[in-house]
């Protein structure tokens, strides 16, 4: 495994030096890529390892974004606002665990999807808190490089932590629940505790990313942070890359972002249609994602990145 570790270190070094050696727009590009990786990976804890397709994952992103914006405007400072953003997201996850984890399968997915829409509407209605449709604007400043480093840090921590967790007893419990929840329960696993924990952990990364996103883009409103795009894109990246595997969401995010950026800017129309067709093909022929394609399976298992 030594070679892999060296490779990862070199890669990280490259990423750290990136803003200084490439044009600024590439930094913006990479920032957005890493943001999607964070959201997709954190989604996958519940979607991939626990087996509960949480279509409402971006709710945590949005809650983190709003919490951060509200506190920053109330002069709480960057650090404190970020910490509270995480706490609010995690608390929300804990709260909704109780009612939502009583649902299974499609019911769970739809209810969580409905939750995002509900939060979007609440953000519109609770004007005194969220500014309603006018959104919230934080102090306008140009923050690309700084936001890039924070996002890079978060991305590394997210992937690293999830990597460790899924190899731990926690990860085993999650996968046991995914494979057969009833059986897991009869074996003495407190399924609710593990599900709730999984959701809380997945929420923490997403809400911090929401905070960083707000800090970077300086203006948020309900449609952006609770909208369809941020809800569906990271999840489809995780599914396309391969759910339940650490590099799955990363590969999915890389694939979609790179294809979109470099191939499709050359073609003026039908981007969305091509994206749609690609997803259809994945759904039909590779539901396990890119990572589980026959010709990738062997080398990846050898690398230890894919378990069977």
């Amino acid at each position: 495994m030594k070679k892999i570790h060296i490779g990862i270190l070199i890669g990280l070094l490259f990423l750290v030096l990136f803003p200084h050696i490439t044009p600024r727009y590439m930094t913006a590009f990479l920032l957005l890529l890493m943001m999607h990786i964070v959201i997709a990976e954190s989604y996958d804890i519940v979607g991939g390892y626990l087996g509960y397709i949480n279509m409402g994952h971006s709710a945590f992103f949005g809650i983190g974004a709003y919490a951060f914006a509200i506190l920053l405007n109330a002069k709480f400072g960057f650090f404190l606002s970020s910490v509270v953003a995480i706490l609010v997201g995690v608390l929300f996850a804990a709260l909704i665990s109780f009612p939502f984890f009583r649902l299974r399968g499609a019911y769970f997915s739809l209810a969580t999807f409905g939750l995002i829409r509900l939060l979007e509407l609440l953000a519109f209605n609770l004007k005194f808190l969220t500014g309603g449709s006018s959104g919230i604007m934080i102090k306008a400043e140009y923050r690309l490089t700084l936001a890039y480093y924070f996002t890079l840090g978060l991305c590394v921590v997210t992937v690293g932590l999830i990597s460790l967790l899924t190899r731990s007893r926690l990860g085993l419990a999650w996968m046991a629940i995914r494979e057969d929840e009833e059986v897991a329960q009869t074996f003495g696993i407190n399924t609710f505790k593990y599900k709730c924990l999984g959701l809380m952990i997945s929420a923490s990364f997403a809400s911090l990313m929401g905070a960083f996103y707000t800090w970077y883009i300086i203006f948020i409103n309900p449609k952006v942070v609770f909208g369809l795009e941020i809800a569906l894109v990271p999840i489809s990246m995780a599914m396309l890359g391969g759910s339940g595997v650490i590099i799955g969401p990363i590969i999915g995010a890389l694939f979609i972002t790179i294809v979109e950026e470099f191939l499709w800017t050359k073609v003026p129309y039908f981007h969305l249609a091509a994206y749609g067709i690609a997803i259809v093909l994945v759904g039909l022929f590779m539901p396990g994602g890119i990572v589980r394609l026959k010709w990738l399976r062997r080398p990846l298992t050898r690398l230890g990145w894919l378990e069977d």
């Binding site: 087996g51 649902l103 399968g105 209810a111 005194f128 997803i279």
Partner: protein, 306 residues
């Protein structure tokens, strides 16, 4: 909580004095039921589809949109009565739905558990995005509406929208028709059998694959019918499909997946909620609707009649 609600409470006091509370409530119930009828139309089709194939069809809203779009195109070309024109669409959309199922859904039918959920989301979502983009390219992204107005029925001060009444009548007749279909015909019973136990139905000689395709065709016709009402009552753009699919999926989940009557009930509850909040606190009408939905699911995890 903001100017909107303050003004509405002033105004409903005014309304109370001038019109009488009871009459307002009756009017709102009527409005809600009529709107619920429109919701029920599309939800019904979706419920049928789910019952038979267990697939969450995110593309359902796209068929609604296409139904409205084709109706608009035909109307603009001929200026004939759009409701009559839509009869032409029935066989067309049956074929659409049938082919959609054959090509995209059938390969998924054998999968199980959360792999099925992932696959059905990916496939129907991908198809929706493709349909949306292609439609926007060929027919333009701007709003489209039909100027077809039927005079309303006036019952001593209470006004009833004729078009919605028509929609409600349509769904009532449809419910009766489908009920008879399911009870009396062979295909109908085969459909019920497939819904209850796929393997068992196959063992009894039912061609469950064909049933699946037929059901999809029927469900798609219903979606397109709702679309025709949509383009007459509101407007359509190529982008309304996905949010509508989500709304209808939520309705059928609220009513109970697999229960046809549940989807009707779900649509009705949604319509009435929107009517009441629309009058007393318009700003909250959408929020209240979703609130009810999430609340019902949390109290009854399998839906109202699931």
């Amino acid at each position: 909580m903001g100017i909107g609600i303050w003004d509405s409470s002033e105004i409903w006091k005014l309304g109370y004095r001038t019109a009488g509370m009871a009459s307002i409530i009756v009017q709102l119930l009527i409005i809600g039921t009529l709107q619920g009828g429109i919701y029920a139309l599309a939800a019904f089709g979706l419920s049928l589809i789910f019952g038979v194939s267990n697939v969450l069809n995110l593309a359902h809203g796209q068929f609604l949109m296409l139904g409205g779009l084709f109706s608009y195109i035909l109307f603009m070309a001929t200026k004939w009565n759009p409701l009559l024109l839509s009869l032409i669409l029935i066989p067309l959309f049956f074929v659409f739905g049938f082919l959609f199922e054959r090509g995209l859904v059938r390969p998924l039918l054998e999968r199980k558990g959360h792999e099925l959920v992932i696959a059905s989301i990916l496939v129907t979502l991908g198809a929706s995005l493709a349909i949306e983009d292609i439609t926007s390219f060929f027919w333009g992204p701007e709003e489209k509406g039909i100027s077809y107005i039927m005079p309303s029925i006036d019952l001593g001060g209470m006004v009833i929208s004729s078009i919605r009444l028509l929609g409600l009548l349509f769904i009532v007749l449809l419910t009766v028709a489908v009920h008879l279909f399911l009870k009396k015909t062979y295909t109908g019973r085969a459909l019920r059998a497939t819904t209850q136990n796929r393997q068992g139905a196959m063992l009894m000689g039912v061609n469950t694959f064909r049933i699946s395709s037929i059901t999809f065709g029927i469900g798609t016709i219903l979606a397109s019918a709702a679309g025709v009402f949509y383009v007459i009552l509101f407007t359509i753009t190529p982008f309304i499909g996905i949010p509508l699919s989500i709304k209808y999926l939520c309705i059928i989940v609220m009513g109970g997946l697999g229960s046809l009557y549940g989807s009707l009930l779900g649509g009705l509850i949604l319509g009435i909620t929107e009517a009441f909040t629309g009058f007393f606190a318009p700003h909250w009408s959408e929020t209240a609707a979703f609130f009810i939905l999430v609340a019902i699911l949390l109290v009854r995890p399998k839906g109202l009649l699931g």
